[in-house]
């Protein structure tokens, strides 16, 4: 750690809370989001969606709609050149895994969830498009559906797909769990239920497509994955180099814009009409149709020794995939790997299953399966501590993983684990206890830790590329196909380039997220962009620097190691300087490139057998600890969060302000998950398709989150950074549940922890009341 501190002092731009270029654009609304875009002659698109969760399409006639004045085209499944899109491995790595999840672009013969797309319309105005959707003659015959994973897996359940309702299953078996449980001083059993939630970013899915003057189908949209251009090309049956995706700065993503959203529809409509087309989902459509976070049932038997050491975890997970596979098998894999928590446990058995139902599909969302498990394993640990009379920080210190430990799946932890320090600091940050305002208002505290992988599964062979080059005046251009979801992804790349090449941030133009014009860098998902694109820019900038300094060394007759780049000058150790434009002219004259294209390959590995515990699954993990203080009104069940502290070891903070923002924002999303958010679905029908029924935290619902940024100096990212996009969303629900038990003695095991559920747990309501 001393090493990290001394390096930080030497850094000029990295490690400083510099203002982000995109923030300057955003405060004056100069940022053109996907929907802030219009082209001459542009059509407006709308989607016909199924009102039923399970039905056969018995009639689908479009002639009347297509004949309406102002309607350019109406499309159904038979009009789609290839109506199947692959959804299991988005991004630039392909041909891995046995999953090959697919879905139809437009429904064929049957629909499997409410909101499933059936037909597309493009018309001169949005009103006309919507009127044409209403004029499509469609009839359904409803069929029996399944609406819970338990029902889906019961014998004789109606199959959602011909392959059966069990979509994926993973197992872990390490040590003798039965024996360890039998010998444990304490065994705690718990069943936990987590709910369906929505990413609920403020910018709905949106984009505009046109056929550019070179004939390339160009789609400008809000996406976390520009590599979906390949999927669009497959759907359109055109060569992949005839589709270009321009990713805009996103109005939020959180995993919800990882899968294909509007791009295939837009590509189809632009191709069929030859005109520019715009599609913007309404909020209702977004909440109805977009894939969500998996609801889980988690059953745990946790055995501990009298010392507090966890000796066994027997775990059974059951998740609801909804009607299509999307990324469910991988989400479940994350759950399986993290199920026993960031702790040393000698005996672990995990049986994890995910089933198809006729509910809304579920897929990626911030936390990606490593989140639901936190609620269970941290609730269990807290209960063990209570049984043993142990302090919550102490039991986590006793059990925390350490470098060199092996996870139940066989992966060795290779970097520092700061868990005890994080737990201590988060707990201490709550300060002196808040006084109770009234006898019936009880105050309590809870702690919860987590670990979240960053970077993709090692057998996806992840890579990212970047281009860095100087203009003749010494200004710098960075090109990287990295979508910026709002976390400061692009700005961090600028900081890294500025650090290495000695130029001011104001002298850098950064171009991101264009599948034709920026080197591909993979998805902005899996907390991987700082790690992957950051490393790509770092490597590229270092190679460019070496290239330039070789020329400078011959000009100055100095050794390369005696030269530095600083404020657009070459500075020699003896004090001599050379202006950068002079060096660049000399490079041009000598035929030495002033730019460089570099690729960073993540450490890769072969697929592992989880059950056999055979090895590495993820590159590395980010650890965290959150502490919450709550008050519970024991007459009403209302819970208020009084104080909240969230500590994460980020390895190194490239921009401490952005890191704090990720921690605070992630923690508040996690509080929403813990306390209020739920997509309510009854027999496959979504009852919460507006922001007045799907509630996310407002400014008045949550306290200030104290972000504690710990820099161990160990991580696989640039300057030893770790990923921090997803980790902070994990612990809040468990921290709140633990605090509520501390305050009231009641253990809440079902999310969200609404006032009604607390009131029930306190015995204030009887069943049916």
């Amino acid at each position: 750690m001393a090493d990290a501190v001394s390096t930080r002092e030497a850094l000029r731009v990295v490690g400083h809370p510099v203002a982000r270029h995109d923030a300057r654009d955003k405060v004056v609304a100069a940022t053109a989001y996907a929907a802030d875009w219009a082209l001459p002659g542009m059509l407006h698109a709308a989607v016909l969606r199924s009102p039923y969760p399970s039905a056969r399409i018995v009639k689908l006639e479009t002639a009347r709609a297509a004949a309406m004045p102002g309607v350019a085209v109406v499309l159904t499944a038979k009009d789609v050149p290839r109506n199947t899109v692959s959804t299991d491995v988005p991004g630039q790595t392909t041909a891995v895994g046995p999953l090959r999840a697919t879905l139809h672009v437009l429904a064929e013969e049957r629909v499997r969830h409410q909101g499933e797309p059936v037909a597309l319309v493009a018309a001169d105005t949005l009103e006309l498009a919507q009127a044409a959707v209403d004029a499509i003659d469609v009839e359904y015959e409803t069929t029996p559906g399944v609406f819970t994973p338990e029902a889906a897996l019961a014998p004789g359940a109606p199959p959602v797909h011909p392959t059966g309702n069990l979509l994926a299953q993973w197992r872990v078996a390490r040590g003798d769990v039965t024996r360890a449980l039998a010998g444990a001083a304490v065994v705690v059993e718990g069943e936990y239920t987590t709910q369906l939630v929505d990413a609920a970013y403020l910018e709905p899915e949106s984009g505009v497509a046109w056929i550019d003057s070179d004939g390339v189908i160009t789609i400008r949209l809000s996406t976390q994955v520009i590599e979906h251009f390949r999927d669009v090309a497959e759907v359109l049956q055109v060569p992949q180099n005839r589709v270009r995706v321009i990713g805009t700065y996103l109005g939020g993503g959180f995993g919800g814009k990882e899968d294909v959203t509007v791009e295939a529809y837009l590509g189809l409509l632009a191709l069929k009409t030859g005109r520019p087309v715009k599609m913007v989902w309404t909020r209702q459509e977004s909440l109805l149709a977009r894939a969500k976070r998996h609801p889980y049932r988690l059953r745990y038997r946790t055995g501990a020794a009298a010392t507090g050491e966890i000796v066994a975890q027997q775990i059974e997970l059951l998740a609801d995939a909804g009607a299509y596979a999307y990324l469910s098998a991988l989400v479940l894999l994350y759950s399986t790997v993290t199920a026993a928590g960031p702790y040393r446990v000698a005996a672990v058995a995990v049986d994890a299953r995910v089933a198809y139902t006729n509910n809304p599909p579920t897929s990626a969302m911030r936390g990606f399966g490593a989140m639901q498990t936190v609620f269970a394993y941290e609730s269990q640990l807290d209960r063990v501590a209570r049984r043993l009379g142990m302090d919550p920080v102490e039991i986590r210190r006793v059990n925390a993983l350490r470098r060199g430990d092996t996870l139940p799946v066989g992966q060795v932890i290779e970097t520092h684990v700061a868990l005890p320090e994080l737990a201590e600091r988060a707990w201490a940050a709550l300060g002196p206890p808040a006084p109770s305002r009234a006898p019936h208002v009880k105050v309590g505290r809870g702690l919860a830790c987590n670990f979240q992988p960053y970077g993709r599964i090692v057998w996806l062979h992840d890579w990212a590329s970047a281009w860095v080059g100087f203009e003749m005046d010494g200004s710098l251009v960075v090109r990287c196909g990295c979508p910026d979801v709002g976390g400061g992804q692009a700005a961090s790349l600028c900081q890294i380039a500025a650090e290495v090449l000695g130029v001011g941030l104001e002298r850098i133009s950064v171009h991101v997220s264009d599948s034709a014009l920026t080197p591909l860098a993979g998805t902005t998902t899996a907390s991987r962009q700082l790690y992957m694109s950051g490393n790509a820019v770092l490597k590229t900038a270092r190679e460019l620097r070496a290239q330039l300094l070789t020329v400078a060394a011959s000009l100055l007759r100095a050794g390369v190691d005696d030269l530095d780049l600083e404020q657009e000058r070459v500075v020699a150790r003896d004090g001599r300087t050379l202006p950068l434009p002079d060096l660049l002219r000399e490079c041009a004259r000598a035929g030495v490139p002033r730019s460089h294209l570099g690729v960073y390959h993540a450490p890769a590995g072969e697929p592992v057998d989880l059950a056999k515990g055979s090895g590495k699954v993820f590159p590395d993990y980010t650890f965290g600890a959150h502490a919450a203080e709550v008050e519970v009104d024991t007459e009403t069940g209302v819970v208020r969060v009084l104080g909240y502290a969230a500590a994460h070891d980020v390895g190194r903070a490239i921009n401490p302000q952005s890191v704090e923002g990720q921690i605070q924002g992630g923690a508040v999303q996690g509080l929403g998950y813990g306390l209020m958010e739920e997509v309510v679905v009854e027999n496959g029908i979504n009852l919460t398709t507006s922001f007045s029924t799907y509630l996310i935290p407002t400014a008045a619902d949550v306290p200030d989150v104290a972000a504690i940024v710990v820099e161990s100096g160990e991580g696989l990212g640039p300057f030893n950074a770790r990923g921090i996009g997803e980790p902070p969303i994990g612990p809040p629900a468990a921290a709140i549940a633990n605090a509520i038990e501390d305050a009231t003695g009641a253990r809440l095991t079902r999310l969200p922890i609404t006032a009604e559920r607390v009131a029930r747990a306190l015995g204030l309501l009887t069943e049916g009341a």
Binding site: A29, A35, L202, E203, G488, S692, V705, A707
Partner: protein, 157 residues
């Protein structure tokens, strides 16, 4: 129908449909994209404009019903042709992540400060209740407003 309004200080007359909202008129007819669309039911706050100086969800206002009222969007708050100091404070204090809520947030804060020049943190949070943010957890937005209030207070006296 004709909608009459004063948009960022300029009198305008705009041909609109009877059911066209102010939000639709601004974005679809006038190309005023500094007003965002998030929920179309007056909950999320990203379409906030100032209507005669008070925050309003432009998705809930019929354009034809404006009858000459003053509509201020983010573009209308520039000071001396540069950034408003509140905008500077948002940049400096990391109050902006994805930025989709930012135009509405800024306008709501300015309206708050007109009514209440020295709000404390709870008052700032209460005023922002109608402007959702999914990225920041709100803390840095409140930090930025507080810092701006402090700096302006210093300037006043």
């Amino acid at each position: 129908m004709i909608a009459r309004l004063v948009l960022n200080g300029r009198a305008r007359e705009v041909e609109v449909r009877p059911n066209q909202t102010l939000l639709e008129m601004l974005r679809d007819t006038l190309g005023v994209f500094d007003v965002k669309e998030g929920c179309d039911e007056g909950v999320c706050g990203v379409c906030t404009v100032l209507l005669d100086g008070r925050p309003a969800s432009s998705c809930l206002v019929l354009a034809a019903a404006l009858r000459g009222r003053a509509v201020t969007t983010l573009r209308g708050i520039e000071r001396d042709g540069g950034l408003h100091p509140l905008q500077e404070a948002f940049v400096r204090h990391g109050a902006v992540q994805c930025g989709f809520c930012t135009p509405g947030m800024l306008l709501t804060v300015l309206a708050l400060l007109e009514r209440e020049p020295r709000p404390d943190r709870p008052a700032i949070r209460a005023a922002l209740e109608g402007n959702l943010c999914r990225c920041t957890g709100y803390a840095k937005i409140v930090d930025a407003v507080e810092a701006y209030v402090r700096a302006e207070g210093g300037r006043d006296g």
